[in-house]
């Protein structure tokens, strides 16, 4: 009797305790990133600003500066906690997609270097998505390794010399010459 009462009290306490204790939200420090995420994004904990939950999945929120756009992708450098920036990461995205910039929806084709973007990294899988506009869905793409993005140089030195000053000089010379001839002819006739 005494033993069953004790067990009942213990069980009730455990149940009540489980109900009453608030569910501890995951933080960047204790989020259970999968090994695949850590392999592809080793400094994820350093760039993570918070963990959010969407449709039953946990995502690490990462913020960074846009370094380059084009070729159906954006390139970002994420901000580390110490104020420095990560290496450059590529996020594939269609140019017509809309993402959030300073709380406003902006299409990817209208993004500009230097703007701050927010991205979500799935805690359980090595995928990443730009923060979508309210009416857009989260489009996850594989986290790509940091890679050099410098394009092959195909630019030629521009022609910055106009022919107009030469033409003007030649014109002035011809006018002077014509003036001199006229002057000499008038002088000879008089």
């Amino acid at each position: 009797m005494r033993r069953s009462t004790y067990l009942s009290i213990l069980g009730a306490t455990a149940v009540l305790g489980g109900v009453a204790a608030p569910a501890m939200a995951a933080t960047c420090a204790d989020a259970q990133f999968s090994q695949a995420v850590l392999d592809r994004f080793p400094n994820i904990r350093l760039v993570c600003s918070e963990i959010i939950e969407k449709e039953g999945q946990q995502y690490a929120v990462v913020k960074g500066d846009l370094v380059r756009t084009g070729n159906n992708a954006v390139y970002m450098k994420f901000k580390l906690a110490d104020g420095t920036k990560s290496d450059t990461r590529k996020i594939a995205t269609a140019p017509e997609r809309r993402v959030m910039i300073e709380g406003k929806p902006v299409s990817v084709r209208n993004l500009a270097v230097g703007q701050e973007l927010t991205a979500y990294v799935k805690v359980s899988d090595p995928v990443i998505a730009l923060e979508p506009a309210a009416d857009e869905t989260l489009v996850l793409t594989p986290i790509e390794p940091a890679a050099p993005m410098v394009a092959d140089n195909s630019a030629d030195m521009p022609h910055t010399a106009s022919a107009l000053p030469t033409a003007a000089g030649l014109g002035a010379l011809l006018l002077t010459f014509a003036g001199m001839l006229t002057f000499l002819r008038v002088r000879r006739e008089s």
């Binding site: 500066d65 756009t69 390139y75 630019a155 030629d156 030195m157 106009s162 107009l164």
Partner: protein, 187 residues
């Protein structure tokens, strides 16, 4: 013949002055973009195409220390360079990043570059953002030397004009001003 050539020069000078003023006004007027948050994707695409009509400046280049303000066109052809500066084909653009190449005539808008100094601020205002760069190097290179036009991982700018600044005919060298991007937190 002489009068014709001089007239041609005078007409080009007038076109340069009027064309650049008109381009700056046109660009200023286009700076207030409409709210597209409710627009259909196709409508946004059509609007972007119409906005990029040929002959419209894509940006305004400013060097405050030189009091230089010049419209930037998307090409570096003769007409564009007569009315302002032009983006060098095959190089980056201010909004997309990379090494942004901007060319101008040494006997026109870019003659003042002879007085630019390392550390001077260069601003490029596009319809989306004002990009700021700080001059890091000034070099005179052979006209065939394309090294300084190479792409860069970090956003950067390269201003190109002919050298010597006072020269009759095709100048044999190029005057190159390079600048590094100033991130928002660094300006």
């Amino acid at each position: 013949m002489g009068a014709l050539l001089c007239s041609l020069f005078a007409i080009a000078q007038a076109d340069s002055a009027l064309g650049s003023t008109r381009a700056l006004e046109e660009f200023a007027a286009s700076l207030a973009p409409p709210d597209q948050s409710q627009w259909a994707t196709t409508r946004v695409r059509d609007y972007e195409k119409a906005k990029a009509a040929p002959g419209s400046p894509v940006a305004v280049l400013t060097v405050p220390s030189l009091k230089l303000e010049v419209p930037v066109f998307d090409k570096d052809d003769d007409l564009s360079l007569n009315r302002g500066a032009g983006l060098v084909a095959g190089m980056g653009t201010p909004d997309q990043g990379g090494n942004v190449g901007i060319a101008g005539h040494r006997d026109g808008f870019f003659r003042v570059l002879k007085d630019i100094k390392i550390g001077d601020l260069i601003e490029v205002r596009t319809r989306i953002k004002v990009h700021r760069y700080r001059v890091t190097s000034i070099e005179i290179v052979d006209a065939a030397d394309k090294r300084l036009l190479a792409d860069t991982e970090e956003p950067s700018i390269t201003l190109v004009t002919c050298y010597p600044f006072y020269y009759i005919g095709n100048a044999p060298q190029r005057y190159i001003v390079a600048g590094n991007y100033q991130w928002s937190s660094e300006t």
